[in-house]
Amino acid sequence: MRVLVVDPDSARAALVAEGLAGVEPLEVRHAVAFNETEAALFEPDVIVVASDSPDRDTIDNLREATSANPRPVVMFVDRSEPGVAEQAVLAGVSAYMVDGLSAARVRPVLEVAMTRFQLMNQLRQDLHKARADLASRKTVERAKALLMAERGLPEDQAYRLLRKLSMDTGRPLGAVAADLLAFAGVLKGDDT
């Protein structure tokens, strides 16, 4: 299990390591500040971040941007903000927040967060795939036809253009095709 602890204070990293003693193999790395490159190389199974870390936006963004390789983020918040923690967990906002931290609680907290994250992630991917499969084939055909008609492209080039756009933007082919059709509709004036 690889854990990255992002916290100006090294005490929390020590506490995490202590709480995970016995887990094999285990590597707990402490970073004062979040470094995207280092994190990518380390490939943590879970990121622990203090709620008062200025790196939160970076990590938040990373989670959304790297949908291909998302990681659970566990956040420790002050006891002064229990309402935020509870409601954020309920809404699944941006992190799994835990009120306070002791060595004994580290392992169950991280395990629950990782399990829950994997479950949610699987559900999200399944839903995404089901939706995409349903809409995608027809939409891609229509977008392809549009590019062929409007830009005089042969079929294979129209498809390659869609695929390239999908890869460039990191979005599914069906979504790119759907946007293309919607935007073309707006420009033609047959607006909904």
């Binding site: 939160r56 938040d60 935020v84 941006s94 759907a178 946007d179 919607a182 073309a184």
Partner: protein, 369 residues
């Protein structure tokens, strides 16, 4: 009025939090009978969560984030926010590492940067990394628009990353990023540190650049209409104070304190030069500004193409509440322009054309592909 606790208002250490900080420091909140606690937050994600769940009553917030929260695309459930006040204009700038300065040329066009990127690609070098402050920010969209106008695809040709504003200089110095778009004083601070040069100011690309607003949860505003009016009156008077030339030095000294922006007072004073805190109706939350930002969000796939932009813009941006506060202060109503000049290559921009603008920009990307 409801709630006996002091008002909790959040901000991020940036020049455009000035109205809120000045209202506190000069007693303008107190003069309205408001007891206010300012909370210096470390991340926009924290501001988002705290406003959504009521841990903050209001905040200095990125306009695109307020729009994204309301539309439910900012992570989590929709959390309707209203913006009855614009904090300042012309805050952002794009700063590049000093060694890239040679390619910037006339900063309004990123053509030099485009040539450098093309050359680096031919040489098989890694793409340039540029930082913005948050995905849903004027900075992200301003930078993307600047890059795209020079034929640089921000999703393909460069690496865009997110970093907290006060850390930008350190990242530039350390070579972690090669440029960034951030609100002052962090551009001027990077220049003063010898780390970078300002390639272009927001005002050169989008005149009177919209940036942060004062945002509150829509539900909070409905429960606390009188407190919101009092806040707005204090913010208007504080913004007018901050805008006066004779107060700029004092403003810099106030902002320089570690519990506020925490940068050198001389650097802050220099970095205020281009910023507008009040003049010319700068505090009016213009729906056309929200519409422009939403059109950019749609262009890059951050809101769905079906989004009703005029409806969203007028739901979040509330010039009516702002004008009412002006009237209570005995001030004349502010002009609320319906059209933006100089923003779009295709001419003046009006709210009704937001989706067309987004569609045209998105389709031109396909034409370039």
């Amino acid at each position: 009025m409801s709630g006996g606790h002091p008002l909790r208002l959040g901000f991020i250490p940036l020049n455009d939090a000035a109205a809120m900080i000045v209202a506190q420091e000069t007693g303008l909140f107190a003069a309205e009978g408001l007891e206010v606690e300012l909370s210096r937050e470390v991340s926009w994600a924290t501001i988002r969560d705290k406003v959504a769940f009521g841990a903050l009553d209001g905040a200095h917030i990125l306009a695109p984030l307020a729009l994204a929260m309301t539309l439910g695309v900012a992570g989590g459930e929709p959390a309707p926010v209203i913006a009855p006040f614009a904090m300042a204009l012309n805050g952002p700038a794009i700063t590049l590492a000093s060694r890239l300065a040679v390619v910037s040329g006339d900063g309004r066009r990123a053509d030099g940067l485009a040539r450098l990127i093309a050359r680096r690609r031919q040489e098989g070098a890694s793409p340039i990394t540029l930082a913005v402050v948050f995905p849903f920010s004027t900075h992200n969209y301003l930078l993307r628009d600047w890059l795209a106008a020079a034929g640089i695809d921000p999703d393909r040709d460069v690496r865009l990353t997110v970093a907290p504003p006060p850390r930008m200089t350190e990242l530039l110095t350390g070579g972690v990023v090669e440029g960034f778009c951030v609100t002052e004083p962090w551009d001027t601070a990077a220049v003063a540190a010898g780390a970078g040069v300002v390639a272009v100011r927001g005002s050169q690309l989008w005149p009177r650049t919209p940036d942060k607003v004062f945002g509150v949860a829509a539900a909070w505003s409905q429960r606390n209409p009188e407190r919101l009016e009092a806040i707005l009156r204090a913010l208007i008077r504080a913004a007018a104070w901050a805008d006066a030339a004779e107060n700029r030095r004092d403003l810099a000294v106030i902002l320089a304190q570690p519990r506020y922006v925490g940068a050198d007072a001389d650097i802050i004073e220099a970095s205020l030069a281009d910023m507008v805190f009040h003049a010319g109706g700068a505090n009016a939350p213009l729906p056309v500004h929200a519409g422009w930002l939403l059109s950019q969000m749609m262009r890059w796939g951050h809101v769905p193409p079906q989004t009703d932009i005029p409806a969203a813009a007028t739901r979040v941006y509330r010039p009516d509440l702002f004008q009412a506060a002006l009237a209570q202060l005995g001030l004349p109503p502010a002009d609320t322009p319906q059209v933006l000049e100089g923003y779009s290559g295709s001419g003046p921009f009006a709210l009704a054309e937001a989706r067309t603008e987004a569609a045209r920009a998105a389709m031109s990307r396909i034409a370039d592909a």
